[in-house]
Structures are given as C-alpha cells and as structure tokens.
C-alpha cells in the first residue's frame, strides 16, 4: 500500500459582510512522501484555509482529507497521537507561533513530551540534534522566543515540527518576511531536510521564486481553486495557465527565466 496524504473535493466557505464566499472551492490535492511540493497563490487565494483543512485543524464544509488511508478530522487529530505526529504544520508567523513564556528548549521539546513519551536525557539529545540540524547555536536553548531574530524563530518552529518525527510537513509561508540571505539559508535548509529524511514536504507561499527554487511539483491556486499542478524540473514552459505565467513574469528573477525559456522555446 502506498502511503499518501490526499484532499478530495474540499470546499470551505466563509461569510464576509453577510455574503457567502468560497475560500476553497472543490479542490483536490495530494502530497506524496519523498517529494517537495509547493502551493503558490496570491494573498487571499485560500492557501492557508486549504492547509488548515489538510492538516486537520479545521473541518471542510464538504470533501475529505485522507492521511495514510485514514480519514482525517480535527476530532481524530486531537484523539490520535500517531496521526497528530504524522502531520506537522509550521505556521506562518513564527514570532506568534512560539509561546512567549517558553524557552527554546521547552518549545522544541513540547511535541516530544506530548507525542513520544521518552526519558529526559533522550529528549534532551533529540532537541539538541534538531538544534544542530537547524544550524542554531546550543546557547539559544535557554533563551525565550522573544529574544531571537526572525530567522532563528523560523528555525525553532521548523525544529519543533521535526521533533514530532512527522511523515508530512507543511510550511505555511516559511520564507516570507525574511531578508534575502536568511531566506536563501532557510530554503536550502528545507531542501536538505527533505532530501535527508525523505519526508513529504509542502511549501505554501505567494513567492513563486521560492517555489521554483525548492520544489519538484508546483500547484497554482487562485480564488479558492487550483488552476494547475505541474511537475517542475527547471523548465518553466510546463506552466500552462495565464495566471502562472503572470506570476512568474512579475517576479524579479522570474522575468529572466521566463524570457530565456520563451526565447529558447
């Protein structure tokens, strides 16, 4: 049996100013193990809503999410620690995603405490291993999250997600709000994590450059629908939709790539 995370015909609507609108409109999507996939779309295209449904935090109005053969609901996620550990989400705003009263050590150790139940020294070793993997100094373990820089907070959040030893990790806007150097470092780190661990990784972003840099498969989302989902291996001609082309051509480095590929093509 092939293990995989799938979302089938997901619809979720919200009410805004008394009007009903579909944040996610009949979307189907999958994430395989051992792949890096990206979901690209502008702000308000329903990416975060879709991700919250896929990770079992909120339930869809219609449609199902299936994780390794089991139907995933918020209730199941709360009750079943195995499912909970399998699927981890790194939230968008890492400053807000860390409890201000917790030290870095406590934050990273939290999923281990909740989901794994292992002795103290083993827990410490695991936390230190992930800190090292995230290229962070050990000295920050005793610091509070508020004392860290934006890039460090992001890494701590990623380390916390990894500490649960998940099969699938979803990064919601993992590189937004970071400066160019830190952004590249984080992206390289994500690629390294994915290559070394063979986990299924999904990057949610409005930044098409990051998606092109990192992923083997890119899904483009607009107004709650997935316009296209393509396998990407360096050739941007694979994108068929006008919207994807606009996205690529309007990104700074994308202009060059797009021009080159159009000329070559």
């Amino acid at each position: 049996m092939r293990y995989i995370l799938t979302a089938n015909n997901i619809t979720k609507c919200f009410f805004k100013d008394g009007k009903k609108f579909n944040a996610v409109d009949n979307v189907s999507f999958f994430l395989d193990k051992n792949e890096f996939c990206s979901l690209v779309g502008e702000s308000g295209s329903g990416k975060t809503t879709l991700v919250r449904i896929i990770s079992g935090l909120i339930s869809p109005d219609s449609g199902t999410v299936v994780c390794d053969g089991e139907s995933l609901t918020p209730r199941l996620r709360r009750k079943n620690k195995v499912i909970c550990a399998k699927l981890q989400l790194v939230l968008q705003n890492s400053r807000a995603a860390l409890d201000p009263r917790f030290s870095v050590y406590e934050s990273i150790a939290e999923p281990i405490k909740n989901l794994k139940k292992c002795p103290r020294d083993e827990e410490r070793k695991t936390v230190e291993k992930f800190i090292e993997q995230m290229e962070l100094p050990k000295s920050i373990l005793s610091q509070r999250s508020g004392e860290l820089s934006g890039g460090q907070q992001k890494r701590v959040c990623i380390a916390r997600a990894l500490a649960a030893d998940p099969d699938y990790i979803i990064f919601d806007e993992a590189v937004s709000g970071l400066d160019a150097v830190v952004r590249k470092n984080v992206l390289d780190l994500l690629i390294k994590i994915q290559k070394n661990s063979g986990k299924g990784c999904l990057l949610i972003t409005h930044d098409i450059d990051a998606a092109l840099y990192i992923s083997q498969r890119i899904a483009v989302m607009k107004s709650g629908r997935i316009l296209e989902s393509v396998n990407y291996s360096g050739d941007i001609k694979v994108f068929k939709s006008e919207y994807a082309k606009t996205l690529i051509s309007s990104s700074s480095s994308g202009i060059k790539k797009y021009d080159i590929s159009v000329k070559n093509g």
Binding site: Q88, L91, A96, D99, P100
Partner: protein, 273 residues
C-alpha cells in the same frame, strides 16, 4: 518588569499604603495601645490623650485600637475572598472558552444574568437566607462578584486562544487540559492578578458597606463599616468617630487601586509580559 513598576510613584505610594494596613492587621495586638473590645461607659467620648491617641467611642472603647483591629477584617476577609473569586474566575472563564461555542454562550448568558443583579440585593438575599456570620458575608460577596471575574477572565482567555502559539501547541499534540494549564493560564495570569488587585478595593468596600447596613457581622465588631454605623448615633456631637473609619477604608482602597493601576500600566505598555 519589577523595576518598571516601582519607577512609578503611584506604585510605591500604593504599596506603602498596602504594607501599612497589612502590618497593622498582622501585628494588631502589639501595635494597638488598648484592647479593642474593652467597654467602660465611664470613659465614653474621651478626648485624645496619651492613653487613647484618638479618644474613645460611645462605649468607652479605644478608637485607635479598634481601627487597627479593623484592618484584620478588611485584609483577612477581602484577600481570601479575592483568591476564591480569582480561582473560580480562572476555572469558569477558561472552561467557557475551551468547551465549545454553545457552552461559551450559555456561560456568558449566566454571567450576564448575575451581573445584572445589583450586588447589594444579592448579598441581602444571601445573608437573609444563611443568617449572619463572616463566612456568609464571604459567600454573599463571592455570589455577587464571581460573574465579573469569570467574564473578565473569559475575555482575556478568548484573546489568548486566538493567538498562533495556541494553534501551534495543538499541532504539537497538546491536549485541551495541558493547553489550559501549560499555555493559557500562565499567559493570562499577569492580567488576572492585576484585575484581582483592583478587585480587592471593591471587595473591601463591599464588606464595609454590608456591615454598615448591619449585615453579616455581629454587633460591636471592630470592623470599619460597622464602626461607622455605630458612630451614626453620635453624628452631631462626635462626627470624627464617623470620619476615622472612613479614612481607613479610603486609604486601604486607594492603596490597592493605585498599586493595581500601576501594575496594569506597566503590563499594557509592555504589551503583555
């Protein structure tokens, strides 16, 4: 944080006032020059002198000693009551937020009903059912004030629950109980303590106003509100007997309010601790 609080003069003044009252309450037998309950009609309405620094009341009891012993009632009743109210508020408020939307609405509705009753009416009803006694005053105060605490804690908790670290904790596999105890309560506790410290003042006023009306405490108790009530009979001849306990109530509540507000200012300017 501590430095920030004490850089404000109002915090220092508030704390000094609170400390004075607490010291009076604890060391009353040492500080008080006379027994507060020793009745001697021959000494009634004495002028202030060395033995009786503030004179005596209508039954010849030392006024200063009675005021000092009165601090025991004010502090000894209001602080435990506030602790009960605080704990009750934390339990009901956090439960309300975490138990789902329907439960939240029901609890908020019940709170609104309790808040809509004037606290004095509730207290009169409770004391007339349960009878006089310190513990019955405590019950009356808790019944008339719990809803305020529960609703305030609920609003703090609701704000905190919307933050991303709570979602992150859920993703990390936190159960609802450990979410409340590990994340929610530690993060709302500073705000709750501030709310409680300003609540002490209203509890003291409430206790004093009950005893002023003759509710709760037995006749002749050295409690500030009760003393004011007894002094009413000699209002025209000896108005100072009414003023002294009034000043005590004023000073104590001012102390708690000043300190509580300084705490709140320090907390809000820091954007939460």
């Amino acid at each position: 944080m501590t430095k920030k609080i004490f850089s404000k003069p109002q915090a220092v003044i508030g704390l000094i006032l609170i400390m004075i009252v607490i010291i009076c309450a604890i060391f009353a037998p040492v500080i008080a020059p006379n027994s507060p309950d020793q009745i001697d009609p021959s000494l009634k309405y004495l002028k202030a002198d060395g033995d009786y620094p503030l004179g005596t009341d209508q039954l010849g009891r030392c006024e200063l000693s009675r005021l000092i012993y009165g601090a025991r009632y004010a502090i000894g009743m209001s602080i435990p009551m506030l602790l009960i109210l605080g704990i009750l508020g934390l339990i009901i408020g956090t439960f309300s937020v975490c138990a789902g939307e329907k439960m939240d609405r029901i609890i908020t509705f019940i709170c609104d009903v309790f808040i809509s009753f004037p606290s004095l009416i509730t207290a009169i009803a409770v004391i007339s059912v349960l009878g006089n006694g310190i513990q019955n005053i405590a019950v009356a105060v808790v019944i008339s004030m719990w809803a305020w605490f529960a609703r305030t804690v609920r609003s703090y908790a609701a704000t905190e629950m919307g933050k991303e670290y709570i979602t992150a904790a859920r993703i990390s596999g936190c159960s609802t109980v450990s979410l409340i105890f590990r994340h929610l309560i530690p993060n709302i506790l500073p705000q709750c303590i501030v709310y409680m410290s300003t609540g002490v003042a209203s509890a003291i006023i409430m206790i004093s106003s009950f005893s002023f009306l003759g509710l709760g405490l037995p006749q002749g108790t050295a409690e500030w509100g009760a003393m004011m009530n007894e002094a009413r009979t000699g209002l025209y001849g000896h108005p100072e007997m009414l003023v002294y306990p009034g000043i005590c109530i004023f000073v104590t509540t001012a102390g708690f309010n000043l300190f509580g507000e300084a705490l709140r200012d320090a907390l809000t300017s820091e954007g939460g601790i």
